[in-house]
Symmetry: C3
């Protein structure tokens, strides 16, 4: 069973797809950045641009929501989904900015690992969001959500391992303070991806 | 004045009672664990099991909410209450997991104190949630909520005392980093219990 | 075009104005306190009183919301706005309490700078909230919201500068732990002010 589309619905779905696309861009930028181990101005600017574009789409969705009478799914779910996709991008920007402020340089293999998992998770988020448009895709959307949940568990285990190691081996407390925050932030990105999966799944259940 | 029950209502109340029961279990497990001062595998596994069972009930409530047309009280309040009860259990699991990762061992009298207050608060949460089923119990529910608020204030004062002492006496910055986070988490459990009390009270006001 | 007022509406607007007023009071008290560089008991008590009065108004709004059938704008927006105004006051109280517990004394020029920006932002919040009462003021309300957003950006830049400096120059890790938390809290106050601006703007869009 499919469902029909009104122009306004098309628009919301388009905006969510763009927002999820920016989340993938932010994740790729983050991966490139930590793989290089230096924060050059170009990459910082690129991250800032992505965050700015993400903000733009978020405002478009929220303003559209305030002005639109009929929406393709629950208003509250639209609001939550837009906010959470925005949070993914914001959190990635926050990490990069923190690395700049804390002057964290050099390739940290743990951060590279986190970046790989985050990129995978953002790709799954993007698949899930794209699939919402048509009920024919709902099985695939569910699979993406399961994958996002799996990656969140991977991230939890990584964070535990990495923090355990940090407290075990790092003797400089200032470095512990800095890296602990960055690792915890990295894991938070995966938590927010999981929040997206939850809201997407709840939207699907309501439309079933 | 009482109000009648539909089967679906019964079901929501049953699920909330089970969820609150798991919160009490998690609090008791936390108390046993910090009183012992060592993290043996059995206790860790027990905590993991409780967290897992709590997750199961939370999903049952949220899925039920998406599929059910008539609910015993505001859909949003059901959603909030389920999330907050889940947060209590998650937070307790988070603390225990952190203690494992940070290799915090030995009996810490402050953590034991926190565990006692947390268990008391979770028992009051359970009483409040059980009482919601029938308007005859609303006075008792209100009393439980007052008690939860009181225990949150107790926790605030404990956290201030304990952190003041930590900064005053602990000379190892790494230990300060670890214990500060664990104490703040412990106090957060009491904050979440207070959030439950607020939503329960607001549900009562609407049904009065 | 104006819109008419019912007594109940008047009441909600009055309560929001009082709440925003307490936020300004808390900000002024915070500024006085950090400018002095010592935490005397009178100022602590004044902060506690403001926080307490703020709590009172918040409960009045939330209880009114539960008992009132018709509200001047979306129930959810009323709830969010009340919570966020309360969060501003709570956060300021939290900072002051933390300074007491952490025994932070002496004039810190960075905190004074933060306090000035926070007071400005709270004044803009108060203007925005006052203006909501009448659609004639909506242009002025929008201007206040733009100003709040601007001050949040100022705060972000200040936090980055101040934390960078802290990590660069402060050699005592315990001091880093303490001041990092206080600076981040101070910036959070400006984030919450921005959240208020967002909800006020969304209320305006819906009433346009």
């Amino acid at each position: 069973m499919g469902f029909s589309f009104l122009p306004v619905e098309q628009n919301f779905y388009n905006l969510f797809e763009r927002q999820a696309g920016y989340a993938v861009d932010a994740a790729s930028c983050f991966k490139a950045l930590v793989s290089k181990g230096t924060l050059d101005d170009d990459m910082l600017q690129k991250m800032r641009d992505i965050e700015h574009q993400g903000d733009g789409v978020t405002h478009e969705i929220l303003n559209g929501l305030n002005k639109t009478f009929i929406t393709p799914f629950d208003r509250e779910d639209i609001h939550t989904l837009a906010k959470q996709l925005d949070d993914i991008i914001d959190m990635l920007y926050t990490i990069v900015n923190r690395m700049r402020v804390y002057k964290i340089t050099g390739i940290d293999k743990n951060l590279v690992q986190f970046a790989l998992v985050i990129e995978e998770s953002c790709r799954a988020v993007s698949c899930a969001v794209k699939g919402m448009r048509n009920s024919k895709n709902f099985a695939a959307v569910s699979e993406s959500c399961v994958e996002i949940n799996r990656l969140e568990n991977v991230g939890d285990a990584m964070r535990d391992l990495v923090l355990g190691e940090l407290f075990e081996t790092e003797k400089d407390p200032i470095t512990v303070i800095k890296m602990k925050e960055v690792y915890q932030d990295a894991e938070t990105v995966l938590d927010v991806c999981e929040d997206v999966a939850h809201v997407v799944q709840s939207i699907l259940v309501k439309q079933a």
